[in-house]
């Protein structure tokens, strides 16, 4: 069983955010994400983070789910923040950390309030006009959903690989941690491909 599910778990509900159609919501998330990245200085990104947390609460995404979404990224965010502080001072560190965390919260809120089926429909509809130039919207939508589902799967593989290395007294060995993880991630991709193939998904 997965201990941490950062993205991709839809939680049914009846809030405004659940009712907004997937297409406009996806476009809104894209626009908000671009705007958040464009913000500079320590205070505006902090305000964006507070707003993102506010929207998550409004959408009734449980704080525990937001925390589970953030937890796997904490070490990376901490290293990023410390490096920026050392190199460019605290205002830039706050800007980078607040922007990154805000984007993760926005992503978590989006996936928690949007059923994957609706998201696939929205992508297929949105990319429909591109059929004329040979684009297959169904395949792009499927790739999008697989990517979201792969995130918890890869975290689970990383967790199991760490446990296996620890059981053999190799928890400090980079090779014992990274090599099996890379191989198992590729194997997971292969298995997913075989499962899709077996179900006839992507055949047409």
């Amino acid at each position: 069983m997965r201990r941490s599910l950062p993205l991709g778990t839809y939680r049914p509900g009846s809030t405004v955010w659940h009712r907004v159609p997937a297409g406009p919501k996806l476009a809104l998330v894209a626009l908000v994400s671009i705007a958040v990245v464009a913000l500079s200085g320590p205070w505006l990104p902090m305000a964006a983070l507070v707003a993102a947390l506010g929207v998550a609460l409004w959408a009734r995404v449980p704080p525990s789910a937001v925390w589970r979404g953030l937890r796997p990224f904490l070490i990376v965010v901490a290293i990023l923040g410390a490096f920026q502080w050392w190199q460019r001072g605290w205002p830039v560190a706050v800007e980078v950390v607040a922007t990154t965390v805000a984007l993760i919260v926005v992503g978590t809120t989006f996936t928690a309030t949007t059923a994957m089926d609706r998201m696939l429909d929205a992508i297929v509809r949105g990319l429909g006009p591109l059929r004329r130039v040979g684009v297959r919207p169904e395949k792009i939508a499927l790739a999008f959903s697989l990517m979201i589902n792969a995130i918890p799967a890869i975290f689970q593989i990383a967790h199991e690989t760490r446990e296996a290395a620890k059981a053999r007294g190799l928890e400090r060995s980079l090779r014992a941690n990274l090599s099996p993880m890379a191989i198992r991630t590729v194997a997971h991709a292969y298995d997913t491909g075989a499962a899709l193939h077996a179900r006839g998904i992507g055949d047409d």
């Binding site: 089926d117 959903s145 077996a198």
Partner: protein, 232 residues
């Protein structure tokens, strides 16, 4: 019942040491309702099962399902043949239970409301309705395998191929999954190490070293397999 036909089928795989023969000149017709494939690890029984769905294509010879060559028209064959994997976690590709069933129905049922109604009905019939919004990763092994079977049957296949579907399950879940599979009206090709399950089939094939070692009555096949395994 559907007709699955293997005609002089050979499957080879490349390895560092050269080509390895996995199946060698296998010819067999499968028309019974429930067909068991048993054999040692690496004997080639899973490869035989995968050939039926087109997951593996023959290096030589032909495999046909209802007269359709698997190598020529894989999509048409896969619309007829559902495949259940040993590890259900590998088969569940959507984040939640309901979404995974909906994925199977997307092409067959374009209307969203009708699709949601069918998803609910399918989950209900498998006792999984209360888990509709749950992450597929949070289910027990037995629930995952039931969901995988439900996802396969949602495409309404005429043949179900199951590759060791109970191997990773405890006794209770194993029985539940087996009961589901044996209750199917569809033709069932079951790869298994569980000889009790094999005995419930109408016909059992023992695969040995890439060839058919025995083919016929389940009791006789299981006896043959036991004697072969016990032999020095």
């Amino acid at each position: 019942m559907a007709a699955i036909s293997f005609d002089d089928v050979t499957v080879t795989a490349e390895s560092a040491a050269g080509d390895v023969v996995i199946l060698h000149d296998v010819s067999v017709e499968l028309t019974e309702h429930r067909i068991g494939l048993i054999g040692s690890n690496g004997s080639g029984k899973s490869t035989m099962a995968r050939l039926v769905n087109g997951l593996v294509t023959p290096s030589a010879g032909t495999v046909t399902v209802d007269g359709i060559d698997v190598a020529d028209d894989g999509p048409a064959v896969r619309r007829r043949v559902g495949f259940v994997f040993t590890n259900p976690a590998a088969q569940l590709v959507m984040p939640t239970v309901a979404e995974d069933i909906a994925l199977s129905l997307r092409r067959r049922v374009p209307d969203k409301a009708e699709r949601e109604r069918r998803v609910t009905a399918i989950l209900d019939s498998y006792g999984l309705a209360h888990l509709a919004a749950s992450s597929v990763h949070s289910l027990s092994g037995g629930q995952q395998q039931l969901l995988a079977i439900a996802g396969v049957l949602a495409i309404e296949p005429t043949i179900v191929v199951a590759d060791e579907p109970t191997t990773l399950l405890d006794l209770r879940n194993s029985r539940t999954v087996a009961e589901r599979l044996f209750a199917l009206e569809q033709q069932l090709v079951l790869v298994t190490h569980d000889l009790d399950l094999a005995l419930q089939c109408d016909r059992v094939i023992v695969v040995e070293g890439g060839t058919i070692g025995f083919d016929g009555d389940p009791a006789a096949a299981v006896t043959h397999y036991r004697e072969t395994v016990a032999a020095p």
